[in-house]
Symmetry: C2
Subunit: 371 residues, 2 copies
């Protein structure tokens, strides 16, 4: 994550993983989720915050989920079902359930199929927001598989040369296990920047960088711009930003996600048919079906080490690989707590009061005395 998104230390309050987990679980229970689903949803969000991916953790997403549950835009008790399946595939009707909770269930189906058939591919329609796609991909990695996850959402991104939004930020995640190194975990929007990172930049008062958004005519803004100078109806750019830098590739990858998640679940993109919700794609490749798991993991160790030991360009300390920084962040936050913006703590104060729940700060103090 770019430093520009870090909450400035003066505005931070650190809370423990345990307290945050309890607060989030209690809030989800008040939204009429089963206790198991509430705990699962809390695990997805808190794991994401632990990894330092604030854009998809409690700060940005929880309030949006609560608002959606409160106005019945998400089904708290979805009767999801498999509408078609084969030895290695399943298509699921998500019945309007939240993706952070149905995602792990879909990935477990993919994992089970991969155990017997070699690969498991699951698509889902009638879905809602998936959260960090990387969380779901990691479930497969923990089962000695390569996991992939993608999601197609509401239009916010222009195609190359287009002046209208046609597809979502459509992220792609992949996870694979290593033996001793932190796992490979890539999770990124196929747009130049994730939509809620633009909101996050605004919250921490940081400029938008060249290549992130369009001007009012749909042209890429290729200079650094304060959030206030950008129209509220800006659109996002595909990865690559301009045709010359490769925006047709970001566009093509977004359409790849649309094909695998949306078209393969028998539906149309959200921009053409809102009634079928967001669509998701889950894949589990059983490593043992392709090669020896030990060989794979040892090779992954060697590969990832080789990447992180690449000589850096002058002025850069080191070369990373996807998942490394987030792994390190997660170790640090497990030990020292998760830094939340004062404004987020305030929101927790309001919502817990509204729902008649103990406040996050109280939970934190009781976690302190327990710990």
């Amino acid at each position: 994550m770019l430093d520009r998104f870090k909450v400035p230390p003066a505005d931070q309050i650190r809370v423990s993983e345990a307290a945050l987990r309890r607060a989030v679980t209690a809030i989800f229970e008040q939204m009429h989720l089963t206790p198991e689903d509430a705990a699962l949803g809390a695990d997805v969000l808190v794991t994401t915050d632990l990894r330092g991916v604030e854009s998809h953790g409690v700060s940005n997403m929880l309030r949006s989920y609560v608002q959606s549950y409160q106005r019945d835009a998400i089904n708290p008790r979805p009767q999801w079902r498999i509408v078609r399946e084969s030895p290695s595939t399943a298509t699921i009707d998500g019945d309007g359930g939240l993706g952070i909770i149905l995602g792990p269930k879909a990935m477990h189906i993919a994992i089970d199929k991969a155990r017997t058939a070699g690969v498991g591919i699951v698509t889902m329609f009638n879905g809602r927001h998936l959260g960090a796609a990387g969380y779901h991909a990691m479930l497969a990695a923990q089962a000695d598989m390569v996991g992939m996850c993608m999601t197609a959402t509401q239009p916010s991104v222009v195609p190359t040369f287009g002046a209208e939004a046609r597809f979502g930020t459509n992220p792609i995640a992949i996870a694979a296990p290593a033996k001793t190194q932190p796992p490979f975990l890539f999770d990124a929007a196929t747009s130049s920047i994730a939509a809620n990172k633009v909101q996050l930049a605004a919250r921490v008062g940081s400029n938008l960088l060249p290549g992130w958004v369009t001007d009012k005519e749909g042209n890429p803004i290729m200079t650094e711009t304060p959030p206030a100078a950008v129209r509220s109806d800006y659109l996002l750019l595909p990865l690559g930003a301009t045709r010359e830098l490769g925006s047709h590739k970001g566009y093509g990858l977004a359409l790849m996600v649309e094909t695998l998640a949306t078209l393969l679940s028998g539906t149309l993109p959200f921009g053409l048919d809102r009634s079928t919700g967001y669509k998701h794609f889950f894949a589990a490749y059983n490593i043992a079906a392709f090669t020896d798991v030990d060989v794979f993991k040892a090779n992954m160790d060697e590969t990832l080490t080789w990447f992180r030991e690449t000589r850096p360009v002058p002025g850069q300390e080191r070369v990373l690989y996807p998942g490394l920084l987030e792994y390190e962040e997660s170790e640090e936050r497990r030990a020292h707590g998760i830094p939340l913006h004062a404004e987020v703590i305030q929101w927790f104060g309001h919502i817990t009061q509204e729902l008649g729940l103990p406040n996050l700060v109280t939970l934190e103090q009781s976690a302190d005395t327990r710990g």
Copy 2:
């Protein structure tokens, strides 16, 4: 394809598909390929030229393949074999055979598995150059499946902040059928630009654009530069070019390709172990296993039409979707011939003379009299 790569009309000689196919087949036969394999290799190259993808057609690739066969770097009669398989997967040892010829065979295995298991995934090690990955992906689309194909090659691209090449241009291709619209066919390197497009720019005397290559210290060159001003040992940049524009995403996607193609075939990246060659990944998703094929194709028609009808930004004539321009180009070239650079025609003259074969211009004339 960018206009900057088009062969200028004054330097063009048009040859018919039929003549080019016969010339290329005859050259491959002289390399000791079976007649079937020679015709298959010619089909991959000529189909690619018909689509206007010069970077992967006869102009750039055929001479390189011939040189490799002549110095025994490619095995003309590979004893390729499946080393491990499951209902939906196979891992293939390619025995040093050329990817443009083994690719279709691997994809047909994936398609057969997808017919019974729902999905077929095939990885291959000990491979050589795969040609246009999109060709192989299209084979699945022609069988009413979604096809994907990726290939991991020799290091030429730096990771974000890195000053050394660590991975290949590692392209990703995906193809899906529509009912009446030209199919969706995306095929692009995960680097900012394909390696041989830099060579092609040099051949047609065109500048390198910002974000394509590094300077000698590994920093992205972010200004337009004549090829002569760029060091011969330049390295390529990942899609996104700089960290701020998202090069960590291009890097992550390249590592995704490495994971699926290389690690899942039980091997190490080419940069760590040259002995296992290039690695490939083939996927076929049987549409009927997920949804009704008719529904999928009608939805694809509606989706692709919606994309191409997006209002363009001022100054742009229209919005495309991946595969559309190449489809149109292919209709035009089938009718009016394939424009080859005079220098390429000259090479054909040399090689056919060296191999004792009829020259391309002669074949063209005899095709004319036949036509």
